[in-house]
Amino acid sequence: MRYSALKVIKEALTGHKGWDPVWRSPEPKKHYDVIIVGGGGHGLATAHYLANQYGITNVAVLEKGWIGGGNVGRNTTIIRSNYLLPENEPFYEYSMKLWENLEQDTNYNSMVSQRGILNLYHSDGQRDAFVRRGNGMIMAGAGADLLDQDAVREMYPFLDFDNARFPIKGGLLQKRGGTVRHDAVAWGYARGADSKGVDIIQNCEVTGFDIKDGICTGVKTTKGNIGANKVAVCVAGSSSRVMAQAGMNLPIESHVLQAFVTEGLKPVIDGVVTFGAGHFYVSQSDKGGLVFGGDLDGYNSYAQRGNLPVVEDVCEGGIAIMPAIGRAKLLRMWGGIMDMSMDGSPFIDRTHVKGLYFNGGWCYGGFKATPASGMCYAHLLATDTPHEVAKGFKLDRFRSGGMIDEKGVGAQPNLH
């Protein structure tokens, strides 16, 4: 069923009786061309692009819970392509371009909203790094603007310019950055994939892989064994646990990242703002809540909940740059499990087991990558060659010394 203005009006006038399910709930078949393990944003995007771009429709997405319940359902909804390194920036810029056409692609309004992302800087060294980054963004076609203090003040007059411990000297703005209604991304991709015949199977947990003589031929699940020519794992947050079933240890640690939202408020912050001298970033949702976050809790965890020190640290950062949001009340905090990789960059690659593919290690940057991750993973699954913009995301890059370390902190996942 296509959504159209006419359809919306007709349904409104006739009691909304004619809306079909956004996706079906089929029973799994015995065998698929491709099984995607994980019904999060990346898994569903992969299915969508496999079916819609690469014509591979005999596909199942297996989700142990409800689709979109992983990190696509618990993030701070920011999209941006303002990366530093040449291995990353073209990928994220490709993702941005896919975001910009997402509604038309999926016929589902995910509310892609490019209201701009502003990274503040507070020192000459930070400015120099931003100039390097901004020029790299321009060279990748992403666009960037360097703002001085006056220009920042004009955009966000209520930041603390006069009494700050680390005065705001300026900022790097990407006007095309912004936010997306995160749940709708999962639902839109599910709808796009389902409409081409992809089976989305919820409450179906993968409990093992059928691997023989180095070849993967399917998965064991709570709904029985399912065969496949290719099995594509896409379970960021649970990557180590799932891949352990295939006997693999990964260059990944699991860490908890907390995020926060305030009560609904009348519009006060238009775009996304990030603090350069503390851990805080914020945007305001279309419903009015200030959505914000900061640093990892910092210790290995699978708990999907965090502790108080980071809550305090993040709010300290918030009040340090925006003392005017002090009386906004924090409404809800939650934790997501991040696949923290050893250099802060992801993996989209084959494994040493034939027919078994891996996508993960997204750290806390997975949401903005969703479209490109899906497209590049679909490309890899369809062609067995890496997509041009994802060539660097190899599992063996640490052995060759080809780290993609944006922050330059080395093999310490909790610092990325």
Binding site: A144, G264, K287, G288, G408
Partner: protein, 987 residues
Amino acid sequence: MSQVNRLNSASKSTSINREKMFSFKFNGQTFQGYEGDTLASALLANGQILVGRSFKYHRPRGIFTAGSEEPNALIHLRTGAHQEPNARATVAELFNGLVATSQNHRGPLKYDLMAINDLMSPFLSAGFYYKTFMWPKVLWEKLYEPVIRHAAGLGELSKLDDPDIYDKGFLHCDILIIGAGPSGLSAALAAGQAGSRVILADEDFQMGGRLNSETYEVAGMAGSEWVSNTIDALAAMDNVRLMKRTTVIGAFDHGIYSAVERKTDHLLQSDGKPRQVLWKIYSKHAILSAGSTERPIAFPNNDRPGVMLAAAVRSYANRWEVTPGQAVSIFTNNDDGWRTATDLAAKGVKIAAVVDSRSIAPLAEFPGAHIEMGTEVVNTSGRHGLQTITLSNGKIIDTDCLAVSGGWNPNVHLSCHHRGIPQWNKELLAFVPGGELPPEMYVSGAANGDLSLASAIKSGHDIANKLSKALGHKGRVKACAKAENESTANSDFWFVKTDTKNRSWVDLQNDVTTKDIVLAQQEGFNSVEHVKRYTTLGMATDQGKTSNLPAMAVMADNAGKTIPEIGTTIFRPPYTPVSMSTFAGRSRGKDFRPTRLTPSHQYAEKQGAVFVEVGAWMRSQWLPKTGETHWRESVDREVTQTRNSVGMCDVSTLGKIDIQGKDAGEFLNRIYCNTFATLKVGMVRYGLMLREDGIAMDDGTTARLTETQFVMTTTTANAVSVFRHMEFCRQCLWPDLDVHLISATEQYAQYSVAGPNARKLLEKVVDKEFDISNEGFPFMACGEISVCGGTPARLFRISFSGELAYEIAVPTRYGVSMMEALMEAGSEFDSVVYGTEALGVMRIEKGHAAGNELNGQTTAHNLGMGRMVSKKKDSIGNMLSERPNMVKDDANRLVGFFPVDKSNNLNAGMHFMTTGKEANTANDEGWMTSVAFSPSLGHSIGIGYIKNGHERTGETVTAFNGLQDNTMEVEIVSAHFIDPKGERLRV
């Protein structure tokens, strides 16, 4: 008339003080209330039924509850910078002079222009926005979204800095008791008598919980009297801390709870006291006695002002002696709802009707009231306040307040903060704590499903008694108070089924109706999490405290499942919303992070230095002289004077690590990639430290003072992390080495003395017995000396500027006087104090790497120091620095750059590409790391990384800077712009 709805009750409530009248303003109109009122009770007393508008449809909204679960009565409290958006009138304590305004309407509250949304409601069903606003593409961001954003939100921030102060504190206890209702009070009494250290926290400003709102007796006296006696008894115990106005907001790991205490929110002015305090409570055990919350029944048009929870109506009547209406009706599915009728009737309030969904015999009769059993409310009327209700038997009853009771939900929230899932109790028809509770949490009273008063008192008492005994406290615990075991009979009735077009609300704030839930399920959103996200159910400021269960009942009914099969969403902290300022505490403004001052800070201040933040440090950036109007003038002068004669710079912020032990040399050999064991006593060596992954971590000089003592310097930025890394190596990798580390960063004031006259100057301050001649103290020498007649000091002949230079270190307390002595001695040489800018210019002129070059992404190979990595010994990073991608021939190399047109200024962050090629990622060959205007050369210079740079000297490339619109041609040169042979260092 003032306070039209205040009851002139015979039995005076002790909760309000009629002797103390407060005046307050709501939407500009002045009203009166009493001490002990909440804003809500005072508004109701004055007949103010309409207090706000709903989020989506802008429907009129009235006060719904009498507690923190309130979905409707959200207001702006106070004005100006003190304005608090989304304050709940039901918990806002009244004070004289309080000012409040309603929110989320355009035009007057009564005639909100946005109410047009309500007429559009068929188009605004759940998730409507996902299906529309896509055509044409450009209009989403240009038109649709701005309109949506403009309409969004409830309350408004003042956009002014929060003027209040906030504090934080730590508390420790044996038992934290959360909630001071009957169960919490009896728990506190038992634990206190036993001798446990107890904290009793309650969110209300009056302890007692429901006992303040009910007419029950405890221990043969009025419930409120027992409360007051119990509080007196607890207050007399040294081991019990009573914390009212304190909400425990979250259960964190290892028994740590967080609580917010409201210190001055009930006062007109905070008078310099903290508004709120964030407490971190370290507990051995916690007893959750948070009570329960009444839930509504969904029925058509159930959202009108005047429709309230039945227990809330009872609270207003009993605790605040206010009736929300003049003709009150009850709609209930349980026995408890009848108590509202009984209590109000006893206070002389007219009962219009009691409507009970159950076909049982009436529990009571009230003069003139309709008693309708087996009957439901199927519609209501009254736009700005309830006027009539229509019953399923066709009767229409005039009533201005409908008290609704759908049963009680235990307040399980904190028991779920470790992601334990509550469990369905079939008898109670409610979720009770289950699954994994936070370790050492126990739940008592209504929160645990012990809904009757007697069982609530007993369960609190018993748990506290048991825990205290287990802790070894042996005090005599008295028997627990006796109370009645009132009926908690309930029924499985959740919402009125209707086939009319009328909407039945489940989430009053977010405007989620039963139809929205059914539509979500129709569209395949079957998981409770999906329904929540699709409809926004339970995501409002009340977090679904009253709406979640009715919604689950609708889902269950529609899906043909039971409520536990539908499941529940997760409760997360905080229990109620908390101001961001409260979490930030004092860490804001200049106090956001500590400030570190260098030993010569006072001296520099006197010289009028401009300071700059360098991590936590404040350092002199430059020191302007009278008449200098631009920073470059000052910096150029500082550089020139230093290069021509002599300059001094405070370098105390560099990390200093004292390394001692007989294996200290061997230890350093393993920490640095180059060799250190061979360093002679009395000499200094430059060292490059790698991370284990082979990337450069830090650099600096290390001096060997004796056979077994070294002093290492690190960069300012890495002082802490290098020390930590070295302790890791010492303790975890090589515990056999005899070596010990002490950070001495704060112990020494250290100054660079640089320039051709540096030695001459130093000879004037260094005590004569120390030979610092070029022969006696050559380049890279070091030694312990004394200055100014016996002050101990260390002297290092090292140079960052490229000049003849020394660093001299004295104990920190001599920092200012050392600087003064140096400047006095230097006056004959026209000496100068230079700041970090001049320091930076000189190191760039010399081609020394600093933070911009050592950015955690560069190898020794990139830096042109590949050969320093000794292959004759093991050292951290040695192995992995050999990986093929890290030693590529065409890797980036650090070189220097001139602008081809010397009148141009370079920028750090320019990207290099072969001239003529398009500026894109594929053509990117490297970037400029640091630039400076060189007063020595008279033009801009830069250093940076470019592919294969060491073999490209003399080549012209394009330095792209589209960001600052400053792209230019540059020539690749040696990074050593001055004195490339290092002759100045050795004279």
